[in-house]
Amino acid sequence: MEFLIAPIIVALLASILALIISILDKHVNNYGDVEININKGKKVLNVKGGDKLLTTLSSEGVFIPSACGGRGTCGSCKCEISTDVGPILPTEKPYLSTEEINKNIRLACQIKVKKPLDIYIPEELFNAKEFSGIVEEINDLTYDIKEVIVSIGDESIDFVSGRYIQLVVPPYGKIKEYTQRAYSISSKPSEKNKVAMLIRLIPDGIATTWVHNYMKVGEKLKLIGPFGEFEKSDCNSTMVCIAGGSGMAPFKSMFHDMLEKGEIDREVWYFFGARTTKDLFLLKEFQEIEKKWPNFHFIPALSDSSPDEDWDGEKGLITDVLDKYLKTEIDPSKHREGFLCGSPGMIGACNNILNHNGIKDIFYDNFS
């Protein structure tokens, strides 16, 4: 019977330690029922304390965007906590600017719920939900951009054009963890039971590689959203919209929405920058919109077209084309607003051009 001694002793030791930990967890880590007051009483949650704010909120159905899933490596789960929860932790510091620290912005994944909290989150986060979807279609738009249409079954999603959604990427290949990535919604708000996204392949990108090489029609996946602030303004200004690559997505949603709601008095200039004809897509779709909507002008421009390409549209850098139109075509006597979606470099450059031409109201959706 001697061979039993070792397992018994190890088991005893382990269970004693486990017992101590679980007793401590029950008593020391027990902060009782705690009230979380969101946006001054808009929503009051009664929760059990002791867990991180991010996980506590999501178990109550309030989803704060988070790309890393609460490990404190992405810094996106920022929220304003007006109750004093102690000084900024070293794990939060790298993600918060001085301005944010002064505004009591904290990372929800690092703050433990120990006492009643007053927090403030953007109103629309109440609207964000987790959706279970099935991939309905995957369409190749160019050699590196796919349109993914996800059906969310009987559920319905309410959003304003310009919002984004978080796609939950399951573990695959060498990737062992769930990952979340944000994509603008390209379907229109009236299609309440589906969500479409335009996803461009980024070399070595975790989510884009999965979408391009692993995802299949019929696959089940989770989406969390909608999030974001990018949207068209409510006035009757001239909209100067500029997109590159998959930055097409929010505008596709926006223009279809406006067309459907009959807001076709509004003047819209839509510049789309690409390198060669290989990078262009959905041209027909926007030309169709142009026919139905006289004040809608679609200007695709190629920066790198070779002379033998069949292209009679604009040529040159999108910034140069934009500058030319702002100076010659787009009536400066009307109020003009800029809407940008694309890479940070493109947004920065176009922002300058808009500023130089006296456009001060600029809204953008940065990929970063």
């Binding site: 070792a6 382990a14 401590l24 967890d25 794990t91």
Partner: protein
């Protein structure tokens, strides 16, 4: 039988001549990754010292009164690791509850050092060298102080290095490893003074 070493000598030896980090090269990963910022280096050093002293003491008791009587020495690795992990978990919960200030200073680093090899290393050294309880306590505490000293020194040097014209290819981990090499050489200079290992 416990070796005949004065605990005071052992304390100095474990801080300087056989520094757990610079003479034995244990606990390297957190040493390199957390040494960029003085406050964090200090907090981490403090928590390593605390965890080392507490877990090694518990490990000595378990070793002396459970593993030896039942002749289970071959289980020491797994038993030591379980005890270290559990102790760190308990410490984190207790500190978080009862001392927010202490939690801020060292608590948040606790999960990082569960897997710090210096902690297991010290537990194994005390067993290999057959230290008595007092010697074990002193040795563990001294090793913690030695680790703390080394990481604070590295953080201070890194601050200077930041302003130095380091060749492009050596920036980051490269120059850090070279710095650690020089520090190790400096500490080896102590090694003739006291011999405990």
């Amino acid at each position: 039988m416990a070796p005949d070493i004065n605990p005071l000598v052992l304390l100095f030896a474990s801080i300087f001549t056989s520094n757990i980090l610079l003479a034995n090269f244990l606990g390297m990963c957190s040493f390199i990754s957390i040494s960029k910022d003085m406050d964090s280096a200090n907090g981490l050093g403090m928590s390593v010292t605390a965890v080392l002293t507490i877990t090694t003491a518990i490990n000595w008791v378990v070793y002396r009164f459970i593993l030896i009587p039942f002749d289970l020495l071959y289980l020491r690795f797994i038993v030591f690791i379980i005890i270290i992990a559990a102790t760190v978990q308990v410490l984190e919960m207790v500190i978080d509850r009862f001392s927010p200030a202490l939690y801020m200073a060292l608590g948040i680093f606790l999960p990082l050092i569960t897997v710090n090899c210096a902690i297991l290393g010290v537990a194994l050294f005390m067993e290999i060298r057959g230290y008595s309880f007092i010697q074990t306590l002193v040795f563990a505490f001294g090793s913690g102080l030695g680790w703390w000293l080394a990481i604070v020194a590295l953080a201070a040097i890194q601050k200077k290095v930041l302003k130095a014209p380091v060749p492009e290819g050596l920036k980051g981990a490269g120059i850090t490893l070279i710095t650690i090499g020089f520090m190790a050489m400096a500490f080896i200079g102590f090694s003739g003074m006291l011999i405990v290992q």
